[in-house]
């Protein structure tokens, strides 16, 4: 999985690309650290280029959700399609996240 983090004032954009699976567990803390900054009000995950996600990959998003609740910012999952959307819906993610 490849990722990019872009910060623009109070918004953080996290772009995910490829496959988000247990193989990437060692980079989850870096992603979470990179997106959690003082003054952030919104974090948007762009998942247009994410091809596949497994249950360990989903734990990255759950940790982001917890960080957002703790720090008082909102998380939106954007451009979620195909098998990734099906997997997240199956796991009940629409109850936790806005999925645009």
């Amino acid at each position: 999985m490849e990722y990019q983090i872009a910060i623009n004032d109070s918004r953080v954009g996290v772009t995910l690309k490829g496959r988000l699976t247990f193989s990437d567990a060692n980079i989850f803390p870096r992603v979470l650290e990179g997106m959690t900054r003082p003054g952030i009000t919104l974090c948007e995950f762009d998942m247009a280029a994410l091809d596949f996600i497994d249950s360990t990959g989903m734990s990255l998003l759950i940790h982001a959700y917890d960080q957002a609740k703790k720090s008082g910012f909102k998380v939106i999952l954007r451009n979620v399609g195909g098998s990734v959307r099906a997997a997240l819906e199956r796991a009940g993610f629409p109850a936790l996240f806005e999925m645009a």
Partner: protein, 182 residues
């Protein structure tokens, strides 16, 4: 069960894994033995599913079910089976970081990294049966609870149960067998 092919793949690239599976001889069975390192670093579920769909084109309709179930089973075989890592490590941010470090150190250990994982598949006109076997300590599948939507771990098996028509365990939990119709 007769016919089919076993592929042994302990190291290499995704392209060479795809080639090895594509070149396997035809028949109603395809078996792949991989090292833990390969299982943890290459998109094995994707490659194996592509090989199955090439052999059984009607499986295209359930491609994501096959790949999703296989991915979760391989992940469990690596994480909880051959590397012996606990699920609840991922509960906290600190635990998540520790989990990542333990994965890295386990895969750097030549003995752990070489432990085999066996993926076996066979099919009939009505169903595909997949099994994934690890060399870990095993577990009691009845001990696992259904995860809540906000759970940070424990989704793998419930995902498999959702994607498959039936799921069974043997060898003290070291082997999972999954049936997908179609």
């Amino acid at each position: 069960m007769t016919g089919g092919c076993a592929v042994f793949f302990d190291d290499g690239t995704e392209a060479s894994l795809g080639d090895a599976l594509a070149q396997a001889s035809p028949g109603p069975r395809l078996t792949l033995r991989i090292s833990t390192r390969v299982a943890a670093t290459l998109a094995v579920a994707c490659a194996f599913t592509s090989a199955l769909v090439a052999r059984v084109p009607r499986l295209e309709a359930r491609r994501w079910d096959v790949e999703g179930a296989l991915q979760e089973a391989i992940g469990n075989a690596v994480i909880h089976g051959n590397l012996g890592l606990a699920s609840d490590l991922r509960c906290s941010l600190e635990g998540l970081a520790r989990f990542g470090r333990l994965m890295e150190s386990g895969l750097a250990d030549p003995i752990l990294a070489a432990k085999p994982i066996l993926i076996d598949s066979h099919w009939t006109e009505s169903a595909l049966t997949l099994s994934v076997t690890d060399q870990g300590r095993g577990f009691d599948p009845l001990s696992l609870a259904t995860p809540m939507p906000g759970a940070k771990f424990g989704r793998g098996l419930s995902t498999i149960r959702t994607l498959c028509d039936s799921v069974a365990f043997s060898e003290d939990g070291r082997r999972i067998s999954m049936v997908i119709g179609g």
